[in-house]
Amino acid sequence: MSSSSASLTAQALQTAKAQARLALSKEKNRWVVSDPASPQAVCATLEEADNWQQGKKLLQEIFTRLLSS
């Protein structure tokens, strides 16, 4: 495989991975997209915590998600 085709394959894989990571939902006949790894999504998730234990659990979930993406 040439370096250019290997580069294209790597790029395609990266694009597919990024697309697979996105969260999509259909609300009122409209697609709503979000990236769970974005700072906005992370902050929104942490804001849901009512206490330290919940925050700690959510942080663990966020890091697990980020490491697997």
Binding site: A18, A20, L22, L24, W31, V33, S34, S38
Partner: protein, 148 residues
């Protein structure tokens, strides 16, 4: 007109290889592929095989009204879908990120449900069946909603 040998998947009609020089037909057959003659312009991206004959893929155009939206959950982009050629289908499966939607077509023309985003991201829109249709994917990028 010069022809070339085409290797294709006999189940789907997807072209897997083309060859202008004497082809390795046996090697292709060993991989479960079938072989046929095709026109010079036949290619993996532009043609498929139907009934043993190489035919051009139907062209689909995806036209977004805008390629960038604000990631506020309100701003949205609408992607128009047009299937060119005679006898377009009544519907077409269009991929949105990792999901898909069946878009109803009238006279080959339709529209995907509007796309909005709540965080910055880029979502790809493409035809799901890339064997039957030829289509350039489009991307919709959501940018940060900056409120000063």
């Amino acid at each position: 007109m010069q022809s070339k040998m085409i290797a294709y998947d006999p189940l789907t009609g997807e072209i897997r290889g083309v060859c202008l020089t004497p082809p390795q037909v046996m090697a292709w057959q060993a991989q479960g592929l079938a072989a046929t003659d095709g026109p010079e312009e036949a290619g993996l991206d532009t043609h498929r095989v139907v009934g043993g004959q190489a035919v051009a893929k139907a062209v689909v155009e995806l036209t977004p009204d805008k390629s960038e939206v604000t990631a506020d959950g309100q701003d949205q982009a609408v992607v128009a879908v047009t299937v060119l050629g005679e006898e377009p289908p009544d519907s077409l499966e269009v991929g949105v990120g990792s999901q898909s939607e069946s878009v109803a077509l009238v006279g080959g023309v339709g529209a995907l449900s509007p796309i909005s985003a709540v965080t910055p991201c880029t979502v790809l829109v493409a035809v799901a069946d890339s064997i039957t249709y030829r289509c350039e994917p489009v991307s919709i990028t959501a940018v940060e909603d900056v409120q000063l």
